[in-house]
Each structure stands twice: as structure tokens, then as C-alpha cells.
């Protein structure tokens, strides 16, 4: 390092160089780079699974990279724990807040970082002062349980500032905020950058990136596809294109068939998300017999909630859901299954499958009521049903009496999909059915869905993998901010047009 003192302005505050991080079965970072200058707000963009979280977790000391180097101000660092990273001035605000609800704002801010005993009054005074300096309005004496999500996030940011973080990482900070709160957050981040700190802002909402970030780095498939683009010289469409990529379709599309009558009807559907904000805001769609309707969208735009409302696991605030013409809006999950609705939930283990139960027990989750002899369940019939599923759907498993949690992701999914399809459904709702699977597993699940369509079933496929949707969907709807932002023909649609609709940049296109 021969650099002069005068060069220090050009030395980036943070450099991640050629970071590789592999997890069993998946390469999360494949030579990713990130350079963040001091005094800037830097966006890290990418679709789900692009490796954003892994990359910042390497920076914050949660993961150790397999290869590559972390440099702060030009010096190489090796963090073993998040505490090491914090000591080096790196603060992280996670999506899930880590606050003690019964403690006050001030107590939460200094928790674990008070070097000596402080008087309550002094403490509140100093926390309040810190907040004012950065435009973070707080009431230091309020207990955290009384605060809104936006206020809690400010407490998390104050925690990092109290520990004098020079580099602040925010993981999708606006996901829990109302639009007004997101605006305020932008101003706070600006304040911090003006103070000479670096802010790393993970997001996939492009208008925020163009609104208050200085530079942007785009990741795709674990690699950096665009590094430190000056936001002022680019636009949302360019960024969207970089995020979704422009790889031409090489996959053979299975031939479509002519769709039949409407099986699943959704009309004017609205529903709240977990935080009580509207997540589904007036969705209309139809799925006909013999077609796969794909739902594309960046994570967190209402896909999960839409699937749950259709499956009966989340109440609709208005609108209707019909199965084969019959109104099912208020029907419990069991009635919908009986009416022919199969549901492959996003969370395999924990919703679709019970982790501590055996393979056999999980295989009869939908049908155990039919496996009874008097009050008793017939062990032999359950086992026979399970063996049948395991064989037909190629599930690789140990003893069928072992807990299902020991199966690999692909085999869990084969069992789950097999169980749902074995009931001869007329409608299948599949939420992220291939997420996290290896290539073989992905292909197997996709083939099952296509075969199901060819047998005349109506399939609603929600996926964050645009390639998957373009390959097997017959129609493609884009969900943005809880409503349909466009409809496309997967055989002819332009990828960048879909990408723009996904990030809310395109006007509604008529089919």
C-alpha cells in the first residue's frame, strides 16, 4: 500500500473484494464486490436470492467468507463475530428488530453498551440529544412496546449510532414502514451521510433508491453485475434491467393447451399483512382449467398474503374467492381442500409439514380423517399411503417413522407436492414451490405442475424466479404493492418490461 495521505478521500470506507460464500447446495456469493465511499448512501439491489443478505452479513461479521477480503478504509479486517464488526464501527439494523419491549427507548439504546452506571435523567438527555443531532425524533423515556414500527426502527438506528457506528447497514428498512415513515428515514440517512458516515441500504424498491441513495451496486446470482453506479446518472429502468438480467430464454416451453372453464376466481380481493398494513389491495384474477397462471413480483409485494387468503389461512377484508363458481371467501382451509383446492405453501417446514412428526404422519396431514377405523387411525393404511407417495413422487427418505425434519429440501418438497396432488385437486396454488431446491428438484417440481395442468387442473404459480415463470406459465401477472401491475404473455413478453412492472415503473398494460 503506497497510497499517500492525500489519497484517503479516494480510499473507500468499505471494500468487499471477491467474496465467495457457499452453503450446502448453494453458492450465495460468487465473487461479489462492493465499494462504499465515506459520506454516501449506497444501495445494494437484487432479487431474492441474489446474495445481498449474505454479502452484508459477511461485512457485519455474521458469516465468514470462504474467500475474499473485507477492507475498511483500505485496511484488511477479519471479523469472527458481529461484536468484532461492531467494534470496528459497523452497525446493522436487521429487518426484525431486536428490542426489549418493556424497556424505554434510552434503556434499549444503551443496553449492553453502557460503560458505567448512568443516571436515568442523564441517559435520557444524552439519547435525546443524539437523536436530535441526526433528525431522529424520539421520546427517550417511552417504553418500546408503545412505539410504532417506524419509531422502533429509529431506536435501532440510535443503537448503532450510540455505539459510534461509522458504517450503518440497513436490511430492507422500508419493508415495515408506511410511505411517510420511509420518506423520513431517507432524510435521516442523508443526515448520517452528511456527517461523514457510510450507509448501506438494501432494498428492492427502486423509487427509494433513486430518491435518496448516491450510488447503487446490483447483485444477481451471487455476483456483482453493476458496481457503484452513480444514481444520478442512471434510472429505475436500467436498474430493473440489471436486477432481472437479460438472459435470453433457452428453456423449452412445454406446449400449452386451450384453457377450459374458470376454476379459481379472485375478485376485488383485499387483505392485511402481518403488521396490519394492507398487503393485498384489490386483486382480480381467474385461473382456468388447464392453464398455469404465474404471479411474478419482488418479494414482499403481497404474493405471500394473496396465496394465504386463497388458501383460507388469512382473512380477506373485502372481495371474493370462488372455487368452481362456489363462493369460498369465508370457508375454512379444510372446506377448501375438500372442494378441490391444493395448497403448496411458501414455508414447507412449519406450515405445509410438521417438523417433529414422522414422514408417515406428515403424508396423511390432509387425509387422516379418512384413515380412521372407529376412533383409531389405521397404521397400516397410513403407511401404505405414505409408501405410495414416496414411490410415485420419488422421495428419497430414511425410515418412514423418522422425523421429517431430516429430509433434504428437495425431498420435503416432493413429499409435500405429492401429498397435495394425490388428492386429485381441481385447483393448485403453489407459492415459491422451487425456492432453495437444486436443479434436479426444481425440474421435478416444475414437471409435476405442468403434468397437473395437462390433466386439466388450474394452477396458480407464485414465484420470484422469473425464468421459471417464463418457462412454465401460460399467462403471467405481475404483482406490485399488492395489486396487479401488468399482464404478459410469457411466450413473447420482453423481460425488461416485466422487470419494470415488478418495480412499479410501467403503466398498466392491457393483455
Amino acid at each position: 500500500m503506497e497510497e499517500e495521505v492525500g489519497e484517503s478521500l479516494a480510499t473507500p470506507a468499505v471494500e468487499l473484494v471477491d467474496i465467495w460464500k457457499r452453503f450446502p447446495g448453494v453458492v450465495a456469493n460468487a465473487g461479489a464486490h462492493l465499494r462504499v465511499r465515506g459520506g454516501t448512501v449506497h444501495a445494494v439491489l437484487g432479487e431474492n436470492g441474489a446474495g445481498k443478505s449474505t454479502l452484508v452479513n459477511v461485512l457485519s461479521g455474521v458469516y465468514r467468507p470462504d474467500e475474499g477480503e473485507v477492507r475498511l478504509g483500505g485496511m484488511p479486517y477479519r471479523f469472527r463475530t458481529p461484536a468484532d464488526a461492531l467494534a470496528a464501527g459497523i452497525g446493522m439494523v436487521h429487518q426484525e428488530f431486536r428490542l426489549v419491549p418493556s424497556f424505554t427507548v434510552a434503556e434499549n439504546v444503551v443496553l449492553g453498551a453502557a460503560k458505567r452506571v448512568l443516571r436515568r435523567g442523564d441517559l435520557e438527555e444524552r439519547v435525546g440529544e443524539l437523536g436530535r443531532r441526526f433528525g431522529l425524533a424520539t421520546e427517550p423515556d417511552r417504553p418500546v412496546w408503545q412505539l410504532s414500527m417506524g419509531e422502533r426502527q429509529r431506536v435501532e438506528i440510535l443503537k448503532a449510532l450510540w455505539r459510534d457506528a461509522r458504517i450503518l447497514i440497513l436490511d430492507e428498512p422500508t419493508a415495515v414502514l408506511t410511505p411517510a415513515e420511509a420518506e423520513e428515514l431517507g432524510e435521516v440517512l442523508r443526515h448520517m451521510a452528511d456527517d461523514g458516515r457510510s450507509v448501506i441500504f438494501i432494498s428492492h424498491k427502486l423509487h427509494e433508491v433513486t430518491g435518496f441513495c448516491d450510488e447503487a451496486t446490483v447483485l444477481r446470482g451471487g455476483e456483482t453485475v453493476a458496481a457503484s453506479l452513480p444514481v444520478a446518472e442512471t434510472d429505475a429502468a436500467t436498474l430493473a434491467g440489471l436486477m432481472v438480467g437479460a438472459t435470453p430464454l433457452t428453456n423449452e416451453r412445454p406446449p400449452s393447451r386451450t384453457p377450459g372453464e374458470v376454476r379459481l376466481g379472485v375478485s376485488g380481493l383485499r387483505a392485511l399483512g402481518d403488521r396490519g398494513l394492507e398487503a393485498v389491495g384489490g386483486v382480480d384474477l381467474e385461473v382456468r382449467s388447464g392453464e398455469i397462471v404465474g404471479i411474478a413480483g419482488v418479494a414482499g409485494n403481497g404474493q405471500r398474503e394473496l396465496a394465504q387468503v386463497v388458501a383460507g389461512l388469512r382473512p380477506a377484508t373485502s372481495g371474493t374467492v370462488t372455487l368452481d363458481g362456489a363462493d369460498m371467501t369465508g370457508a375454512p382451509p379444510r372446506a377448501r381442500f375438500a372442494a378441490g383446492l391444493a395448497y403448496i405453501p411458501e414455508d414447507r417446514l412449519g406450515v405445509g409439514l410438521a417438523p417433529r412428526l414422522s414422514v408417515v404422519e406428515n403424508s396423511v396431514l390432509r387425509t387422516y380423517r379418512g384413515q380412521r377405523r372407529g376412533p383409531f387411525l389405521s397404521g397400516s393404511r397410513m403407511a401404505a399411503h405414505c409408501r405410495d407417495l414416496v414411490e410415485r413422487f420419488g422421495v428419497r427418505t430414511g425410515p418412514l417413522g423418522d422425523p421429517i425434519a431430516g429430509l433434504s429440501g428437495g425431498n420435503l418438497q416432493r413429499l409435500l407436492v405429492g401429498r397435495e396432488l394425490s388428492g386429485r385437486p381441481s385447483v393448485v396454488v403453489a407459492a415459491q414451490p422451487t425456492r432453495g431446491l437444486d436443479v434436479q428438484g426444481v425440474k421435478a417440481i416444475q414437471n409435476l405442475l405442468v403434468a397437473e395442468r395437462d390433466a386439466g387442473t388450474a394452477v396458480l404459480l407464485i414465484s420470484e424466479d422469473l425464468d421459471e415463470l417464463l418457462t412454465i406459465a401460460d399467462r403471467l401477472l405481475v404483482l406490485h404493492d399488492g395489486s396487479i401491475a401488468g399482464e404478459f404473455d410469457p411466450a413473447s413478453a420482453e423481460r425488461h418490461a416485466i422487470g419494470e412492472a415488478m418495480v412499479g415503473q410501467a403503466p398498466e398494460t392491457a393483455p
Binding site: 485496511m75 484488511p76 471479523f79 463475530t81 470496528a88 372446506a335 409439514l353 423418522d402
Partner: protein, 361 residues
């Protein structure tokens, strides 16, 4: 630098729990040995006497079985709730409630024949235990109030109720102002089976068997396991969680209440505030050691019964009965520790140190 760390095994050791249990027993006996030496006793003589008085002959077995009855029923009560992820810490109070219910029937049914009276007493005990669990059950099912707190607090209330009854309305006029209820009529006592063992042994065994079969072989038990494994999966499968929580907590309380009724009718002569003797709390340990399985509860209850009976027998030779309580505690510690080792293994891993290359680099 390398340091030892616990690493999760790919799959738990087969037969890990019985093994863990045996390890717990050995640990407890070893710790007890040291404590007895420190207290100036001869450990082997003490252990030998505990063995003789609890398990060596049919007379000893009859005492151990009697003691295992309330422990087993209380353990079952905790295990039934636990299999759904609920913690009934209120078995102690529910036992008292059951004893009160049975004692009340014995008062009003003095003239009834034995079988009718005993059946009515046990039914009342069952219902009374369930009644005490009603408030925690409804509060948990409807508005999600933590059942650990509510069931625990009701223990105190049940105890005060018993005290009020035996100092007040139910006090024996001929007791010379001692807080005692009258003795139970003879026909209110459970007949003996052999030695000093009473029919409660059969009742408890049958109840445990019914629950063991229900838990492992019926749709009801299946739904319980699904709900205990993942509440979201239960909702997905269309299992009503509210109803399950309600029935399971009520049943749990009722089974504990039954323990109180059996204890009153089988062992005690009258209602006293000490009738439960901590069985409800010991039941939590029994259930935990049995991994919340009814069949395991029967076995652990027998062992704890033996330890408790043995512990009482050594008082005569001048050793505190607390020895048995200490042994029970160390069986739990040892078994939990060994249980961890059946799921984890000790490995040497790279040590944790601070950042090696820091700003000074």
C-alpha cells in the same frame, strides 16, 4: 486454539433417553454418596435400606406403587398438555381441587354403598380438577394468556381454599380445635389390592394406558401432535387450535384432579392441606423425564415412587428425608445433561478470539 463445543448430531442416538435416564440415576447416586458422607452417614447402608424398603419385596412394592399413583397421574396431566406445547404448572392445585371435590362427595354420600360412593368421589375429583383448569384453559384458548402463569397462580388459591375448609366449615367438631376434617367413612376408601397397595394403582394404570393409546393411535392424538409440532401446520390442516387447547388443558386439569381423589380415597384418611405433598410439582419432573410420553410417565413415576418411599424409610435411621428430594433433583439434572449428549456431541472446534487483524494492521 481449539476448544470443546457442543455440535448437533445428525440424528439423535438410538435409545438415548433410557440411557440418559440411567446416567441420571448414576449421577444422582454418586452425588448423594458424597452428600451422605459429608453428613456423617454410611452411604451404602442408607442406599441398601432405601432399596429394601422400596423395591425388595411385595410389601415394599405395594408402598412404592401407592406412591407412584399420584406421581404418575400428575405426570400424565403435565405430559398431555406438554405434548401440545402447553405447560400445566397447576397440577398441584388441581390435585387439591380434586381432593376437595372427592371429600365433598364423601360428606354428602355417607350413606351410599362403597362402589357408588367411590365412583362418585372420583368423578367429582375429575370434574373439580378440570374446573380449576377452566379459567387458564379459556384464557389461553380465547385470548392467548400464558397458561404457565395462570395455572401456577391457581395453586395458591386452591391451597387457601383447602385451608379455609379444614379450619372452617369442614372442621371436625370433635377435633379439639385442630384443623382437621372428620375421618372418611370406611366405604369411601379404595379397597386394597395386595399388601398395602390399593385399587388406585389399577385406576392410574388404566388411565395412563388409555391416554397412551389415545395419544399414539387415534386421530385425536394425531391432531395433538400436529398442533404441538407447529401451530401453523395445524391451521393449514384445518385443526381448530382453540378447541384443542381448551380440551387439552381441561383434560390435563381433570387427570390431576383425579390424582387428588385417588390419593384422598386410597391413602389419606381425611382432607388435609398436605394431601398433595408436592406431587403436582414432581409431576412436572416426571413428565419432562418421560419426554411427555404417557408410557414413559408410568416408568418414571415408579422410579420416583421408589425414591420417595426409600427416602422416608431412612428417617428412622436418622437421615433426613430431604435426601430423596436431592436424589430426585439430581436424577433430573443428570438425565437432562445426558439427554443433551444424546442429541449433541462434544467436538474440538477452532477457538473464538478477537479480531486478529485490526486497525493496527
Amino acid at each position: 486454539m481449539r476448544r470443546p463445543a457442543l455440535v448437533r448430531r445428525e440424528r439423535p442416538l438410538r435409545g438415548g433417553q433410557p440411557l440418559a435416564f440411567a446416567v441420571g440415576l448414576v449421577v444422582a447416586l454418586a452425588v448423594g454418596y458424597v452428600l451422605l458422607v459429608m453428613a456423617g452417614h454410611e452411604p451404602m447402608r442408607v442406599y441398601q435400606r432405601m432399596w429394601e424398603k422400596s423395591l425388595s419385596d411385595s410389601d415394599a412394592w405395594s408402598l412404592t406403587l401407592n406412591r407412584a399413583v399420584p406421581l404418575g397421574l400428575a405426570g400424565l396431566a403435565v405430559a398431555v398438555a406438554g405434548s401440545m406445547g402447553l405447560w400445566n404448572i397447576g397440577a398441584e392445585g388441581q390435585i387439591l381441587a380434586g381432593a376437595m371435590g372427592a371429600a365433598w362427595v364423601a360428606r354428602i354420600g355417607e350413606t351410599w354403598s362403597g362402589p357408588v360412593l367411590i365412583t362418585a368421589m372420583l368423578a367429582a375429583a375429575f370434574l373439580a380438577g378440570g374446573a380449576l383448569a377452566l379459567v387458564p384453559a379459556v384464557a389461553r384458548a380465547r385470548i392467548g394468556v400464558n397458561e404457565i402463569i395462570t395455572t401456577l397462580m391457581l395453586n395458591e388459591i386452591a391451597l387457601r381454599l383447602v385451608q379455609w375448609l379444614i379450619h372452617g366449615p369442614w372442621k371436625d367438631p370433635e377435633s379439639h380445635n385442630f384443623p382437621l376434617t372428620p375421618m372418611l367413612p370406611d366405604q369411601a376408601k379404595l379397597p386394597t389390592l395386595f399388601g398395602r397397595a390399593h385399587w388406585g394403582v389399577v385406576i392410574a394404570g388404566a388411565v395412563i394406558l388409555v391416554f397412551a393409546v389415545a395419544a399414539s393411535r387415534t386421530g385425536w392424538g394425531y391432531e395433538l401432535r400436529v398442533a404441538g409440532s407447529s401451530a401453523e401446520t395445524a391451521r393449514y390442516a384445518g385443526i381448530s387450535l382453540k378447541r384443542k387447547i381448551l380440551t387439552v388443558l381441561l383434560l390435563s386439569g381433570a387427570v390431576a384432579g383425579l390424582a387428588g381423589g385417588v390419593e384422598l380415597s386410597g391413602t389419606a384418611d381425611r382432607l388435609t392441606e398436605g394431601i398433595s405433598n408436592g406431587f403436582g410439582y414432581a409431576g412436572i419432573i416426571v413428565a419432562a423425564l418421560a419426554l411427555l410420553r404417557p408410557s414413559g410417565v408410568a416408568f418414571v413415576a415408579l422410579l420416583f415412587g421408589a425414591v420417595q418411599v426409600g427416602g422416608q424409610s431412612i428417617q428412622i435411621i436418622g437421615v433426613s428425608a430431604s435426601v430423596s428430594t436431592i436424589l430426585q433433583a439430581f436424577i433430573l439434572f443428570g438425565a437432562i445433561g445426558a439427554g443433551v449428549l444424546s442429541r449433541y456431541e462434544v467436538r474440538l472446534v477452532a477457538g473464538r478470539a478477537g479480531a486478529e487483524e485490526g486497525a493496527a494492521a
